[in-house]
Symmetry: C2
Subunit: 438 residues, 2 copies
């Protein structure tokens, strides 16, 4: 094998695959001049040859036989951009077994089968790289795995889903309702017709699991991640948050606050963060990841988390890394996982925002306050959001907005359960965790 | 050599050296558990053994003989944290020649002698790593060299000097004068007693040269960088910028706008950027680097650019990288430089902010406008900053603030020269380049 001239087998030619092929073909000379490596598109495996593609695939390189590509001795390195667990998993395992490094952007696969794939790569002595699987074009995985390899990371908080950040930005900056913002995201192609994977946090949860793998070495899969989406966030929540100096973001949070052998918490939920926090300024469909380390302090990496070209750029960076390693006949550092206890959501300590509609009559606040007190949840601030009684005198109820001091989730949930049974409570609105409250 | 147990020779035990030794000693077990590499402090070379140090240097490892450390067969890897060009350069060359990888945080050395050192490292087949030389704890060099190795980067703009960002933040957010903000920076230890290297942009210029090396492969040294500092920025400039929707930041700008073989511009100067630009939100002594690439789009990396622990964290990341490479008997990718034409500051195209004090009488604006017109500089907006004539009728002059459309620096400088000769012009204030103007 001539490590300065390598043939790439690309599996999948959708949005990212097409962008990668375009980069490899159009920028071939520039990349070769800059890096000393000539990358040739050796094969592009697709589901159907019939489909019309606006992608400059070299003559005769399109095939429907992905299984042949991964074992083809003419192919030096495999890029998997099909998405989904199968057949991607089987194809990657076959490629690794055949001694070919693999680059993938497949978050679902890595978040569910990472341990198996990394082990297969280590056994084969080749690279399995996946920078593009989290936060698209943002260099995140490499900084976490290499630059911060010796750092005791306490917490990583990420805006890792562009669709939900777009929706929340439209709600915060433009005053849109959730449904209008979602419809706009769909019309712009940021959200799918069925938006569940994005808005209910499944996509972010998969990325949280991968962050837990690489930043904490924790053996975690997507299903281990506590998850809440943004479909319950109302215009009232957004408006109240703003008035209190906060912004609501869907965050993937991975933390190990106590020590590096203590329990790791991995969760995705809407979060109120101070409007002055660097993550609060991350707008539209941008992604950003905020890292808090013992030595390094606070870091933030910000950029395009999705889209064909940004994601293809991350894949290309991995490809060039794998080529360098092929040239020296060695693999880069593997991902080593260990069993660490997971912190259940019930044990998480946080401040909370809670909004209730209650009967508008004397004694109600006392009754609600008693519930908080019974569960040792201490209230930091309470506001009544304008009594809603009409001129007619009909009691439409009053909205009470609470921010608690830091409390244990279990106790806050017990409060909610008691509040449900309180006859003066008409409606229990959003419960949103608050980070960075004084 | 046992690559899982390596002895580190540390040259220099000041702020960063002390923090690194502390990390290596205190976190030894944690780092070994996490990475599989046991790093031992083999030697710490200092200028004087007499000085009292609050650093847990292992018994008997302190020495004044740095030259012996770099050739000591008991030392596997050398970390240079002395700063300055000599003797750091000679020691690093000796270490490389002895086959030892070197990690350095020495921006001055890399910005002046990078080409020689990288060549020496490549010849020796070992690593010379320098993540900590630019933007302290922020992973920047590795993402630029590796993640973005295939990217056509068009521009990098960085806030890479924490002292000046602190001063400008105090002026912008707190309304402080330059001198008061500088005094506060000095009292907090952010600025030296002689602040020249920071406030006149020498520190940022060295970092700009290194960015040009790694992001563009351009053979550039610190002295090639066009440089202006912040000591001429007035409270009026800050206030006018704010009213126009801008923030003033000292930026290191490296760009290659035309093509990847076109001229590279490398410069450091105060810059007006829109208040909505991500760099505008970088406050206090934080650093951030904004990267614009063809495929990846806009990226920003944000964090602590200085300080013992953040910088030591970056050094530790490099150390672990070098250890991995020692273990596989190979070096990472070297920095390959090429001759590229530099774009002289005279050829740069930019919008400009210019502020003049002129006589407060009819016809003055016409005279000034004629100068702009004569040099093909088109004015986008002009404001008169309140006529300053007193009730007494004495003509104290009027302040005119111009923002130009994009123009060529040479033409703008020719305007300034003509304006100097115009008798209605009493004072020529700041000329500040504007980025992101419509």
């Amino acid at each position: 094998m001539d490590a300065t001239h390598l043939r790439v087998g690309v599996l999948g030619c959708g949005n990212v695959g097409g962008a990668l092929v375009r980069l490899l073909v159009v920028d071939r000379e520039r990349i070769a001049a800059r890096t000393g490596t000539r990358l040739e598109v050796g094969a592009v495996a697709v589901r159907s040859l019939a489909r019309d593609r606006d992608v400059p695939v070299p003559e005769g390189r399109l095939t429907t036989d992905a299984a042949a590509v991964v074992v083809d001795p003419e192919i030096d390195i495999v890029v998997e951009l099909m998405g989904g667990i199968e057949p991607a998993r089987t194809l990657i395992l076959a490629a690794l077994k055949a001694g070919k490094p693999v680059v993938t952007a497949n978050k679902e696969l890595i978040a569910n089968c990472g341990a198996e794939l990394w082990e297969a790569a280590a056994n084969a002595g080749v690279d399995l790289l996946f920078e593009a699987a989290v936060a698209g074009g943002i260099p995140l995985i490499r900084p976490l795995r290499e630059s911060l390899a010796g750092e005791h990371i306490r917490r990583v908080m990420g805006i890792v889903n562009g669709t939900t950040n777009f929706i929340l930005s439209k709600m915060s900056d433009g005053g849109a309702s959730y449904h209008d913002a979602l419809a706009e995201a769909q019309s712009l192609g940021y959200a799918e017709r069925d938006p569940t994977a994005d808005v209910e946090g499944f996509d972010a949860a998969a990325k949280a699991a991968i962050i837990a793998n690489v930043a904490f070495g924790a053996r975690v899969v997507a299903g281990d991640v506590y998850r809440e989406g943004i479909s319950g966030i109302t215009e009232i929540d957004i408006a109240v948050a703003r008035r209190l100096g906060y912004v609501i973001k869907l965050l993937a949070i991975v933390e190990q606050p106590d020590s590096d052998v203590g329990p790791v918490g991995v969760r995705v939920h809407p979060t109120m963060i101070p409007a002055t926090h660097p993550l609060a300024a991350v707008r539209d469909s941008y992604n950003a990841v905020f890292v808090e380390g013992d030595a390094v302090g606070d870091l933030m990496l910000h950029g395009r988390g999705a889209g064909g070209m940004p994601t293809a750029s991350a894949v290309l960076g991995d490809l060039l890394d794998a080529c360098h390693n092929l040239g020296i006949g060695a693999a880069g550092r593997s991902v080593a996982l260990r069993e660490v206890p997971l912190r259940p959501i019930d044990d998480v300590r946080s401040a909370y925002y809670l909004n209730l509609v209650v009967a508008d009559r004397p004694g109600v606040l006392r009754a609600v306050a008693e519930v908080f007190a019974n569960h040792s949840v201490s209230v930091r601030s309470m506001e009544q959001e304008g009594a809603e009684s009409e001129a007619s005198g009909a009691d439409l109820g009053a909205r009470l907005v609470f921010i608690t001091h830091r409390a244990v989730e279990r106790d806050v949930q017990a409060c909610l359960s008691d509040l449900h049974h309180l006859d003066v409570v008409r409606e229990i609105g959003s419960l949103i965790r608050v980070i960075g409250a004084a």
